[in-house]
Symmetry: C2
Subunit: 382 residues, 2 copies
């Protein structure tokens, strides 16, 4: 460990079968609770019924309709409702998008201006309402971190935003059994690439953090075929759910250099073309690995050796094989790894390049991924 | 992941060079602080000077003399001082013993009865004073968990005790440079065996927790020769310090079955013969592995394969080789692995057996380690 760091993660994790009922003990009794939801899948999979059961006797109101890649336009309605009803606590019931949106709602209800100002200038965040979550889709890690990603539909923009941690999060793996296969695949890719964003940078910063990152990725590779074969395999789905939370709660990020170029390029594809987040990452990562193979050389070799057991051949051959193995992993879970498979072409690449050049964007662990390099990366993904 | 679990660890970790100065920002301004210390080594290694510097302007008093394996007899004096001076916050400056002792002090100052009652009956713990720590010896993990081990000198007893987490802990690896070699070796053994107590039990409970446990042990094996060769190697000492904290903060214990027989037998050796905790563990573990090799078979094979790369030979041979490799690891850092090296013989074994039979003790993940089996284990350690 070379670098100083500060770590704290106060979220209480309540994990396992039947734990939604624990809401009754965990939620504060004397608060006015706003319960936030997505589009309504919780009404089909039994989650809503369990939540209502646990909420008996609590003082709560509901807000429905936080969409994937939650937009400030939708969230403004929840914020207005929360102000009007004087809510003092929020319970998010949904996937990463509902929890992300709830983080903005919790910051914006006590704020006098418009919520988008908080996304653009987090320094304006003052008091925040406490909130908790019932997670329904393992992917983003939002259930145990303080980050969120908020979109602006009008401006076709999507930005990361940091507020505070959920007080507690309930993770019942049973709720994942009814997820669409594509959502599960995107969740696995999102989890895998969260780890890589914290790992595929500078070598020898912390041997322990490296081992823990590799441990998550090894586990994902082992469980992916089980999950793909049978998404009602409780042990495999539960392990996936645990991996997703552990991949972005700071446990693997102590004192290490992070990247996040893949995510930030992926956000632009989602903002412009409405492609699911995890799917964009599976494509962009391959381009990033190819274009930045010199910069990421030592970590690519370590990743290949320890995660995919690639130890034969020259170093260049091993890096090639590692990139192929990564791409094959994403394909094995049913994701596309090329832009043309999603009918995305040169026009979108040009738009992202122009945006990055206009904004003066510089991404990645070396700050060298600008509009020009992003174009090169995305051209590798065509 | 098969089993339901709840996880929460709110301690803020402040890690790195020069971080003792951060006390000035982290400590609450309006509290009456009791600062607790061990025997005075902090006066030699510069820690005390840095703490005093940071405490300028705070309202504090000091208590000196919390010994290794802190006794309730010593702690009663600190508790009396704290009550008399109406302290409202405690800062522990020292190793695991000072932090452990501080956990009892924090529970006992607001308590009307005798502190030993809280050790024997934790249900009696009510209000606790908040506390924080400056860690000087990586080993016990007490800086980021809610456990403590308290001794009773009069009764020659030593028991685990659970209270609350430090609000924050400052870990500056520079303070470890002046530690005696033997203390460092004991700290490495303690850390390694904390991991094994949470790992060497039931197979296939959580692939991720297994990987993380193996990751800590692999890292310790890699850094041990560096630390032994040069204890002023900052990166290696810092990584050791990180490993020690991560080995017992719950991060590797989610949903897995734990053992703790080695610790609880080791505590008896310390209570009766005043042997340093980590040294007792390095001896007892080898006996536990030998006597419980059938019960721990699957995990012993996995441990050997993944941590020591032992994959040749029959399964029985691999287990033999794994036990030898573990013993060699402890010897390589300068620890004894047999009781006779410490002049401990049949008399102490008999005393521990008698105590366990009298108390009706049943330890380990199967609850089968009673007085008789403990005798068998310790006879293997002679």
């Amino acid at each position: 460990m070379k670098t100083n760091f500060t770590f704290q993660n106060p979220t209480k994790l309540i994990f396992g079968k039947g734990t939604i009922a624990n809401l009754a003990q965990e939620l504060p009794k004397d608060e006015k609770i706003l319960v936030t939801y997505g589009g309504g899948s919780v009404k089909q999979n039994g989650v809503y019924k369990q939540v209502l059961q646990a909420l008996q006797g609590f003082n709560y109101i509901e807000f429905w309709g936080i969409e994937p890649n939650p937009t400030v336009e939708t969230l403004r309605k929840a914020i207005a409702l929360g102000k009007q009803e004087k809510v003092t606590y929020i319970l998010a019931v949904g996937g990463g998008s509902v929890i992300d949106g709830t983080k903005l709602i919790s910051s914006a209800i006590p704020y006098d201006g418009d919520a988008w100002e908080l996304v653009l200038k987090p320094a304006k965040i003052g008091k925040m309402l406490p909130f908790a979550s019932v997670l329904t889709l393992p992917a983003t890690g939002s259930e145990m971190n303080c980050g969120a990603v908020i979109s602006n539909a009008e401006k076709q923009e999507k930005y990361a935003f940091y507020s505070s941690f959920p007080q507690f999060s309930v993770l019942d793996p049973l709720v994942t059994f009814s997820l669409p296969d594509f959502q599960i695949a995107c969740g696995i890719a999102d989890t895998f690439i969260h780890v890589l964003e914290q790992y595929l940078t500078v070598p020898d910063e912390s041997p322990l953090m490296d081992r823990w990152s590799e441990g998550i990725m090894q586990t994902l590779i082992e469980l992916a075929p089980k999950v793909t074969a049978d998404k009602t395999n409780y042990e495999a789905m539960a392990e996936f759910m645990l991996c997703a939370t552990m991949a972005l709660n700071g446990f693997t990020a102590m004192g290490v250099t992070e990247d996040w170029a893949t995510h930030l390029i992926g956000h632009e594809i989602t903002a412009l073309q409405d492609i699911t987040h995890g799917q964009t990452l599976a494509i962009v990562l391959i381009g990033v690995m190819k274009v930045l193979r010199k910069q990421k050389r030592a970590k690519l070799l370590q990743f290949g050796a320890r995660v995919f057991h690639i130890v034969e051949g020259t170093e260049e051959q091993r890096i090639d094989t590692t990139i192929v193995a990564t791409e094959q992993f994403f394909r094995s879970i049913g994701l596309a790894t090329k832009l043309h498979e999603l009918n995305i072409g040169a026009e979108t690449i040009q738009a992202i390049k122009d945006r990055f050049l206009k904004r003066g964007t510089h991404l990645g662990e070396c700050g060298n991924v600008d509009g020009m390099l992003t174009e090169e990366i995305l051209n590798e993904c065509l």
